[in-house]
């Protein structure tokens, strides 16, 4: 193996490296440093290499049978090259030196750069000592500690059996689980050299109940990073009780009458309102595209004074927790809004360069086929000064959104999200279940209408799709009151 010494460009074809195939360790330093040097010698302003190995498995139980066990193995790399304001991202499955060099060469040529002349000296890129987050918290040992295929199957079948006991009018029962183990290595021409191992798991139920023309389908998921024992400790008794109760109530629910109402949103996945209505609009990606109304509002009031919100990567085992982002930066705890005042944006490396906002360890991507972009991690509205009783007592006629579905936000700041389980509030009391509600609004307007926050903050796992693919995130909030919002229904 060659050490990383200065050499001529024409020596490139003769270089031989023997990096460990099964693990991203120090043996990758020399070849990656060489490639970064080659890129710099070709005239690139900055080069980043992202290497990934993935071991994924999913398991599906339908009624009382395991119907699918799907393992998936993946390796790949992404090479990002910057020249001036332009950047190019090339991905490949080929992790050999030749494969990575070919990807680099392609990236350089796209930006009008060529490999250096044969007699050119390749500059030495001194990478930092490997910052190995994978050695923390026993991460190296996580994968073998996770549930075996047999154990996955047994737990899911126990779960669907419980569901059968708890719910009525069942048409179908499903339990799904996945385990996603990921090892990443980042090397960049500024000397960044960092490795991490992530373990993400999620398990949940879906149930379809039918009684004549009445149908109710409800799903619920739990999610976790960092706990190899997650599936073993999943409380499927409680989960099955909750979902059975929800399905039972929604089976005979009336459709919501459309209109404008005050609403109370439950904690936990209710936090999707902030994720869609504000979180995305605080990503520097949105400033770059000029699709956020908040671009020039840092230091200004953009929300009700009762609202404080965070985005951070460090909550214990939460679904969006990362020790480092996909650009090798340690995750930060970022105060987004404090008492209504916009404090910070979420920035990746490129977003920081292009907008001037400091990096926050928020450069994230689905996998090696995507360039990192500024994305949310664990995002939540902080606790307030009210009790849940205060919130309900303040509503004469409104809607309690107990269980939220997904949502989205568009280029103009208009957002929407669906409600899976809702109840009519009359004179501060819940009176009847409602279904079919969709909430729509504009980010700039709604943020000033979140007027009351309770104290029962809870986080919930979610999947967020955006420019750099689908990533694991957390949403969260205590119970909150929104003074008025348009509710789409019948």
């Amino acid at each position: 193996m060659l050490t990383n010494t200065l050499f001529l460009s024409n020596q490139l074809p003769s270089l031989q490296y023997s990096s460990t195939r099964e693990r991203f360790d120090e043996t990758w330093e020399a070849p990656l440093a060489t490639l970064l040097g080659v890129g710099r010698a070709a005239g690139a302003d900055f080069i980043e290499l992202f290497l990934e190995r993935r071991n994924y498995i999913s398991c599906l139980a339908e009624d009382d049978i395991i119907t699918s066990i799907s393992p998936s193995l993946a390796t790949g790399a992404g090479v990002r090259v910057f020249r001036g304001k332009a950047d190019c991202y090339v991905s490949t499955n080929n992790l050999t030196f030749a494969g990575l060099k070919a990807a680099l060469e392609k990236g350089l040529s796209i930006l009008g750069l060529q490999l250096p002349e044969p007699s050119a000296l390749i500059p030495e890129i001194n990478l930092e000592l490997l910052r190995d987050y994978a050695t923390k918290r026993g991460k190296d040992g996580w994968l073998p500690l996770c549930s075996s295929i047999r154990e996955m199957g047994e737990i899911l079948l126990d779960g669907t059996a419980q569901l059968n006991k708890k719910a009525t009018h069942i048409q179908s029962r499903r339990a799904t689980y996945f385990r996603d183990w990921q090892e990443v290595l980042v090397a960049a021409s500024d000397g960044t050299f960092a490795r991490d191992i992530r373990l993400t798991q999620s398990v949940g139920f879906n149930i379809l109940c039918a009684d004549g023309a009445n149908r109710a389908s409800i799903g619920e998921r739990a999610g976790n990073t960092s706990d190899a024992n997650f599936l073993r400790t999943w409380d499927y008794q409680q989960a099955s009780e909750q979902i059975a109760e929800s399905a039972g109530k929604m089976l005979y629910a009336d459709y919501v009458e459309s209109g404008t109402y005050p609403i109370i949103m439950a904690n936990h996945f209710g936090g999707v309102i902030f994720h869609e209505a504000c979180g995305h609009l605080l990503e520097t990606t949105q400033i770059e595209r000029q699709t956020t109304p908040f671009a020039d509002k840092k230091g200004q009031k953009i929300a009700h004074e009762s609202l404080t919100a965070w985005d951070e990567g460090r909550a214990d085992n939460a679904f969006g927790t990362i020790d480092m982002d996909d650009e090798g930066m340690p995750a930060q705890r970022t105060l987004l809004i404090e008492k209504g005042i916009l404090k910070n944006f979420l920035a990746d490396r490129t977003g920081s360069v292009r907008t001037g906002h400091p990096r926050t360890g928020s450069g994230r991507r689905q996998n090696y086929t995507f360039a990192a972009a500024s994305r949310m991690r664990n995002t939540y509205i902080d606790t307030g000064n009210y009790s849940n009783e205060d919130l309900f007592a303040s509503v004469d006629k409104g809607i309690y959104c107990k269980k939220m579905g997904g949502g989205s936000v568009g280029a103009t700041g208009q957002f929407n999200f669906s409600v899976d389980e809702a109840y009519l509030i009359e004179n501060g009391k819940l009176t009847k279940p409602l279904k079919g509600a969709t909430l729509i609004g504009e980010a700039k307007e709604i943020m000033n209408k979140i007027s009351m926050c309770s104290q029962d903050l809870e986080l919930a796992p979610g999947f967020c799709g955006s420019v750099s693919g689908s990533i694991y995130t957390t949403v969260g909030q205590p119970h909150i009151k929104v003074d008025s919002i348009t509710v789409g229904g019948r």
Binding site: S68, L73, G436, T486
Partner: protein
Amino acid sequence: MKIIRCTEINHPYNLRLSAFIFGRKSQINSIMSKIQEIATYAQQNAAKLGIQKFDIYGSTVDDTSVQVDQGEPKQVKASNRSGVTVRVWNEENTMGVTSTTDVDPKGLELALQTAYEASFFGVKENVPDFSAEATIPIDKTTKNKAPQAPVSELIERLLVAEKELLAAHPAIKGVPYNGLAQRDIDRFYLNSEGALRTESHSLASVYLYSKTEEEGKKPRSAGAYRIKENLADLDIAGCVKETADKTISHLNYEKIKTGKYPVVFSAEAFLSLLGAFSNLFNAQSILDNQSLSKADDIGKEIASALLSVYDDALHPANIGAESFDGEGTPTRQVKLIEKGVLTSFLHSAGTAKRLNAQPTGNASIGAKVSVGPNFYHVFAAGTPDSLHGIPMQELSLETAENVILIDDLQALHAGVKALQGSFSLPFDGWLVNKGEKISIESATVAGDFLEVLKSIVYVEKEAELTPGGVCPRVWVSELSITGE
């Protein structure tokens, strides 16, 4: 600017083009040999592991895409990726699966081994099997690839498109989402009983999404998309025009009063709704009790007699049509709804066997084989006055009063309850009154999909090509609209 089409390219470029095509033939040969190589590795490793029965579905994708921002290139992406899914049957005839991106001998060995281990946890009843049609000859498989244009040309064309869009109206201030891409795809299926299918094709696509800013008004936006086999034939000018026209049409907007309105779905909107409720035709979903249909619903009238829906992978308008599915079964035209009557389901080899039908070429390989549509063809079932002898007036947006024209439905992942049959979705659209269109500021549409099918009052004649299929505008008697 005039877009240069293939036939207008001058002589020197043609020479270069010929050389490039020659290069592509060599590349296709090399891909064939790569597939043979994978087959050989698989055979060798299977023998080593004592595996008698297996099949592999795989693909390689080589793509390049560009984005621009205010006259400058923003990001260029390129990738060359491979992936295979391996299914293995053990001595007890239960099946396991593994997917991998490592297609070298070591990677394939690990995939086969992992699939073999998983096979002991596979289902014991209705075990998936090879498709009996995996070896029957297919008349025509695509082996042609278009020459890939240099990245500089992609950037140049997209910059021109952005410039034209920004010049279309002073209120259009940006094109925040845009992209021009070209892609080569090679796919194959092989199994241990000698099936071997390969196919190659190219795609070029463009999308533009522009946004307006005007003093005292809310920002408005709209977009369009085009796809073709090659860049030379890609209708970028049409995409620019459609995006500009739509965006400009949303500049003057009004709130709409909440209530019930006649609704006209654009081709894209109707197909997106049809896609969201595709469990209606999905034999696997029916067997899993995850469908709005039941196995014995064939022959049932589920829609207005005005409507016919086919799934037609081989439709001439289907860009990038595939001639075989993930199990190697040839794709074909499947008549799903004929004059309002449910006539067939979409099948894999396994569902066809269980429901005593033929596989339809709609399967995706996996531990649990899934089924999905290929390319919808929606059309009017005869002329309006020919149906059941009932005379029916042709409807037109030029004469209709207070009709909602829905151009684009949003957030289907959230607002569709596919197993309940209901939807409540935000949309972009217009209130149309005798041909005059006023953009709707912000609203949702809600209803039941089966009721929508039944309440179709008119299917227009002129069809529009979208990425998901071919479809005309579809008129529905009444739906709930929430505005103010």
